[in-house]
Symmetry: D3
Subunit: 252 residues, 6 copies
């Protein structure tokens, strides 16, 4: 018998629309026994397009991780392509935590010798480059592209951003010599399957990739290491608006 | 409704005993609807402990990949820690192909900031180092250890090799500052779960990790890119004992 | 005539004692016309010893950056060895922002071909390793050492932590083949000068190093680039407890 | 008095024509006392243009290495630009084994600070990139170019492929800022000398380079290390069509 | 009270005009109490545009370092973008030694996540690339550009070279996605401030950057490590025209 | 018929004894038709044990390169393990120039997957590390060892240094997991052959390795690229004691 699973999908920005898009995509690939608990912070930034936005968002992510842990979820997904707060979240969590950039990049390397990234604004390319560097995939990424539209244009209903993503993917396939494309924004989650079919190469969405990573780790009974630097944060009184993140009682 | 899945687990060496150990581990973590088709080459090397053995084994792997493809399997696993023939197999396959070293290393980076590897003979450390380098995980690996016993000692029933693995894992946890351990041989597949519990850190077996990777890719409808360098091998008449690998008829 | 300068020294933790230690060190090396404005967040973590603590601290850092910018300071220092929030702060700031790990590491490479790091708890070594990787100094760092005492032990008045730092520095000089030592915690700022004399090699404190970096950039009339990914954060309404970080009115 | 030398030139594909081209080039640069024993496998792939072809070819290479060793040759050359089976061959061999990509790349770094590569099909570029990475020459290679014609077009007598190679070399000299060019296919061996003269920069063929490397090692009485991971393969019964590679009797 | 400081600015080429340009720039940014002692070798190369020129210049640099040390200067600057003789000079010196490429590159990484370099002749790009590699900044440099005019064209009074520098900087800002530009020649020192204003991004001159680095180190009472490989050269009799560099008497 | 060859072996230090040792080794491995022209500068440093010594030596090397070029030699060897002045020499030379560190390291990678280095004084280890980094062999070097005796102790007739080299080689073989050893000083040239026999692993001397590299390049009619950054130095009047290096007349 298969154990049912609850995966907390954390949209680090405050956009309900984007949370919904990602939740639908997540549910469409999740195993039948997996429940997707899609959340976003009540307070924070409506979209994440830089280091500053990421720093703001990280607090919301941690608050959600704590809530998810209290609720006993089996895994957490940080559903923003910069994977904001990933290591901090891993310290805080008991269950596995997966970032969507991480998930998409890892899978891409298993399907092609090199991949391209298509993201939103040019200023976010630095964040993607830093992740490639940190995860070890600099050599596996042939090129990075930006559609030069903000994240929320993916939610404006016009389809313009989606069309630009499609065009960039087609151009990237042609020019980069890559075998796969990684979509560089959670808001593009719903585009991967159709682009994969149209372009006839793997176009990878991190949200769905992360769902399967969490399910995989759960099935393997593997969870975030609590030995060493990802151990629970040291007990110390957080003050003021951070008091909600105090952890003492949870360490039992 | 969930589609049933057939994953071909290819043991690149000719040891039936090891094939069986790995098959059992694979089945213990596979989804209910996943069928594990465990095979090993009829001809080849009884164990793989160097570059030469790997080269021999690669032929057997490719033959099995072709057979698996003909049988319509949904994915292939190369179940030897050197991931022998991985890219060649990807060219040949229609479905995803995952190596067990690859699968274990990727997952390890999602659970700890650094991991250690425990393998069999010292001479195989070079192979592991090359994989770390190729996959981008050199910085994520804190140390490599060898128990200095051959692969088949894991199958001799004495339990000696298993005890040595356990000792090395305990020593590695203590000395390396790593948060996780990757088991560096398919023949250690059955040790991961109990060591994870005893050591209280993730001890990762690539066989089970690879099963979940293939299941994940299948659920995401992602498969090996056929655009570029992993496209099917160019049509050319293979002669002699390689004729069995001729591919022409399969390209439709 | 020399322009007077105001440098905001931001201690990312809430320890007044540590803020004071760092302020004194900063003032002891600052130019006569430099005013050191030492601050720490009112709310947050009393010490920073992991990724989670850093994430909390980053919010306080950004709040202080905003306040400093409003007050028209000429530069900001992030005085925690993990340089938490450095790139986010640079987006937000008009003036230069320097992290103390960054400052110390850069200077170390100008004084020796390789340096060692001595820090507090082992779990913070990962953070230091990530910075070395990000800044490009992996090869310039011969070894990292931890005294295995928490940050605040530096403020407990017993001198025990200070003595351990001294011992580790002496041991590092002997064993690592390094020509210089970087002190890996803002709370060690007051130890650098005497250890430099006692050990007869450069022992570098990031707080004082950062003061000179900011003074240098000010004298050169260079400031954080606002072209590209360090441009001011895009205008978007931050909600709830983050509203205080809304920036709109400052962009004129 | 100079010892006469027998170098086994192994063409890993089954093309007699290409074997002949390479043998002639090898002989044209060999020392008077060097005998070139040019061979190719009787069975295998007619050309090598991908990972799959390489895997097939590796078996043929090993069979030839064994035959060469039995015949007492003084060195072996693997004459395909992917250096297929290089480390496996080194395990098996008593004498030095040199790959032509390896030989050409090493020499190129001694003649120019950066080189370009001109090869056949685009899909082989990945193999070249992996070799650059493995050998340590990523930074020394300014660019890789493909003429987009298959290997055997070099043997079709039309001269078209040769002309394309020439054009690409000229274009590479102009655009890449490289001081030298490495020819990326054994079938281009006969073009190096005239292109070197016409372009007035070193255009390097790996076949002739490898001949001189083997002669050099022989003169220095240096051979493949048998200490550690390149030691002879462990004794184990290879079965079926691999039985011909059984080695036991040779270890005396 | 502030200690007065004497910084020796060493132009490694023999151009008095360039020495003067750099001295003026240095003085314009130096602290009031800093004296700039601008020197150039009496013998050597009139400009430095390659490895050979650098080797010649290094001798002049060392002679000046020795003279500066005898004169008791508080720091030395090597004012040629290749930083010729930097480590040799550090061995010889008692005070800090800073190269202008080094100083500019370090500061650039503190102001932008990536920078571009604009230099003189294409053949010097290799030198810049080697420095990026050695200093750890390969990833921080987005692109290198050459105006394709010799160094001394900056001194011909026509303003042509200056105009080309300006054009390249504008083009680099547009094309490279860099947030800052590093000027790749000491002879461009006087252009940085106005280009910074015109382009509205940091355009960094290494001469002025180096002045501030030396002042910083002096204020921090940090100097070149004499522990290990930057210790004073071992005592040995230098003969002939190198006798002037004999050091014995200075070691007391 | 084989063309006779003249290789200029340049000892960068002024020790006649060491020049003689290296010349004998060079001659013992050279082809019959190769003439070894062993030279050392008349003026300079008696031994080279640091960056400063290297800078001095470089001038002597260049003077000899010029003399060798005037004499029409077919290749040059820079016979000091730091390869001082290698790129400058390549600019100046018409024929190939090979450094002994370079030659030894390249060959080592063809004989073993990893090698160790045994050199003289610890302070020279930095130079070896820089070369590994520059040549691309950081990953191929398992460890570096110093016997902690100065270079000239190899010439004192006591045999003490030689014995220490032997001991270090034995220890390195045992501890490093390396398959080969590179001798890190030209003065150890005469030890390689006997240590290779005694230790039964390749112990590589750069002097003899370089002889074979030059012979190889000559046979291949390949020489230093004169396209790009290794082109002849730009014509400019060198003054004073450098006038002897003026090159104008040679450019025809």
């Amino acid at each position: 018998m298969v154990k049912s699973l609850c995966i907390q999908l954390i949209n680090p920005n405050t956009s309900q629309a984007m949370t919904e898009v990602m939740a639908q995509t997540a549910r469409s690939v999740a195993a039948p026994q997996t429940h997707i608990l899609a959340v976003c912070p009540e307070e924070g930034a409506p979209s994440i397009e830089g280091h500053f936005d990421e720093a703001i968002a990280t607090l919301g992510v941690l608050q959600q991780i704590k809530a998810g842990r209290d609720a006993g979820v089996d895994g957490h997904i940080i559903a923003c392509f910069g994977d904001p707060g990933l290591l901090a979240a891993r310290e805080l969590a008991r269950a596995p935590v997966i970032g969507i950039a991480e998930a998409a990049m890892h899978l891409a390397t298993m399907l092609a010798t090199r991949f391209s990234i298509v993201t939103t604004l040019p200023r976010t390319l630095t964040i993607a480059r830093h992740l490639l560097h940190q995860y070890g995939f600099e050599r596996h990424c042939a090129a990075l592209h930006a559609i030069d539209l903000p994240v929320l244009s993916l939610e404006d209903g016009s389809g313009l951003a989606q069309e630009k993503v499609r065009e960039q993917c087609i151009a990237a396939k042609k020019s980069d010599g890559s075998g796969a494309i990684v979509l560089g924004c959670g808001g593009m989650a719903d585009l991967a399957q159709e682009l994969t079919i149209e372009l006839n190469i793997p176009v990878i969405d991190g949200v769905s990739a992360a769902v399967k990573m969490v399910e995989s780790l759960a099935a393997l009974r593997l969870t975030t290491s609590k030995h060493g630097d990802l151990d629970y944060p040291l007990e110390k009184p957080l003050s003021g608006r951070f008091a909600g993140l105090n952890l003492r009682e949870h360490y039992v």
